[in-house]
Symmetry: C2
Subunit: 311 residues, 2 copies
């Protein structure tokens, strides 16, 4: 029988990358230490500061919500209802039910109400290589707007080590030096209208977070977004899983090595000047921000449609 590396009781899981086995109790301790260390090392937030937390309904954000709440942080959840059929219905329900059970504040932003269109409607109107990139732009915009209007200074997300290494691999394969300059578990606010962004789970793997969710019986949506099936990040994750299998610790060393040895080499490539968008006034590097550009295209297409109908 495999024993817990820490207390010698029967183990319930083995973490190859740490070459350690844990019982449930010691796994929780390991998990807490990883998150607390991340929050402390990167000075993410403290207990008196309200934290806005992006809640998708998936295992990572739901576990982070659970963890931060029970650790005494002041968390306000924010969930974007993207209008992607059953997937969005279920994700929202999970977030709402959880908020209700624990009496936690949750802000729902339903795209079809806030901007008049769901993600599938926008993707249908605009020919774009990837709905994920469109959706990301829209969520980032609405998030910044909400955080600014409601005086949130920090925004947390449930990104884990698998997410971070997949992003890092994608950035490295394309040598996107500007993105590499901004890849960090804690990003300072680049503009008074934008909160700083932090990732308390950056050192934990998907597998470890799933274990935490299982132990704590945290509800979450298991199916992925149906529009993200061709997302390149899935290919990067598959390649990294292969390398991790051959050599446990690959992901950890890749991401931590980047932060220690390489990140600063790219820093001069990330300097940007943010000014107000000529349409909405929110920060952008260009004349018009990407959200307003998307909405312009959506409205143009709508006009086209109306026009062609009346012809």
């Amino acid at each position: 029988m495999v024993k817990c590396s820490r207390c010698k009781k029967p183990a319930f899981t083995k973490l190859a990358r740490h070459n350690a086995s844990f019982c449930e109790e010691c796994f929780e301790l390991f998990f807490s230490r990883q998150v607390n260390e991340a929050i402390k090392k990167y000075r993410m937030f403290h207990k008196t500061e309200p934290v806005l937390l992006g809640v998708s309904g998936g295992k990572d954000s739901m576990s982070l919500w659970h963890y931060l709440h029970r650790s005494g942080y002041q968390v306000v959840g924010i969930h974007f209802d993207l209008g992607i059929g059953e997937y969005s219905y279920l994700s929202r329900k999970i977030a709402e039910d959880f908020a209700q059970s624990y009496a936690l504040p949750l802000q729902i932003i339903a795209l079809s109400e806030t901007i008049g269109y769901s993600i599938p409607q926008i993707a249908q109107r605009i020919r774009h290589r990837s709905p994920c990139s469109l959706c990301g732009s829209i969520k980032r915009y609405l998030l910044n707007q909400f955080a600014f209007s409601n005086h949130f200074t920090v925004y947390a997300t449930g990104h884990n080590l698998d997410d971070e290494t997949a992003t890092l691999l994608g950035n490295v394969l394309h040598w996107q030096t500007d993105y590499l300059a901004h890849q960090n578990p804690s990003l300072p606010s680049p503009h008074p209208k934008m909160p700083r962004k932090v990732k308390p789970f950056y050192s934990l793997t998907e597998e470890e977070i799933s274990l935490y969710a299982r132990i704590k019986e945290i509800p979450f949506i298991t199916e992925p977004c149906p529009l993200s099936k061709k997302a390149k990040s899935l290919n990067y994750k598959e390649a990294l899983n292969l390398l991790e299998k051959y050599s446990p610790g690959t992901k950890h060393n890749f991401f931590f090595g980047f932060l220690e040895k390489a990140s600063q080499l790219f820093s001069s490539h990330g300097e940007v000047v943010l000014k107000g968008c000529e349409i909405c006034g929110m920060p952008t590097t260009q004349k018009t921000c990407s959200f307003c550009k998307i909405m312009q295209k959506v409205h143009e297409r709508k006009d086209d449609h109306v026009h062609s109908r009346t012809e």
Copy 2:
């Protein structure tokens, strides 16, 4: 029937990463252009300069030998007989037979004669995590020594795009900034006792070189070195092949993007001071060069053995 993208004759191959199909003739033209462009762009060598070419007996080095010879370059082959059983016997025979058929100069360096031990003997005497790394150190040393004694100023190898991207991925996953500083298709000589090192095939894939070898009926050894079965480079190649399958051009963009956008960021990490090894006088960054360290260990082990026998 698929047609050649260039001349519209029936195609014999499709290169996904170039989104092009070629007949045999146009493929050869494509191939030549890639190599000539590499030699010209990096000023690798010219036709009046003798080029020392590392010939392992594999498809890459044999094809490069064939290509450079028929293009009018002055090539001298150098083959290291590593003493790895049947594998070494066959590799050497292929190199010797080819040299004889085309009346080309070939230098054989048999490790068991030159240094008294084969690679398996050395690997057996020294506990080392990887025989590939030991073998690499020994070959590099003997190569530098031979090139210096025989006044060769340039050393060419058959490394291809798959090799280069696998090395790049390994260097990036570990953020070996010093190795990244030195990864280039053409490395200037860092010391008067060392030739510059060039890779004319750096922009061609394994698949493309195999096609060239097939068309030109170039003999080569197909089995890999039996000691390299656990080489990490094979895992990196597998991961990159997966990504290339999902997105043709991944390898090309990764390596060319590195050369264009990232390589110079690491350059300050590659500055080293080379001095003479206290034992052999060949250049090294340390007091004793890695070759002399290996040989010291080999001799120590031999003495131990003799000593324990006489006890």
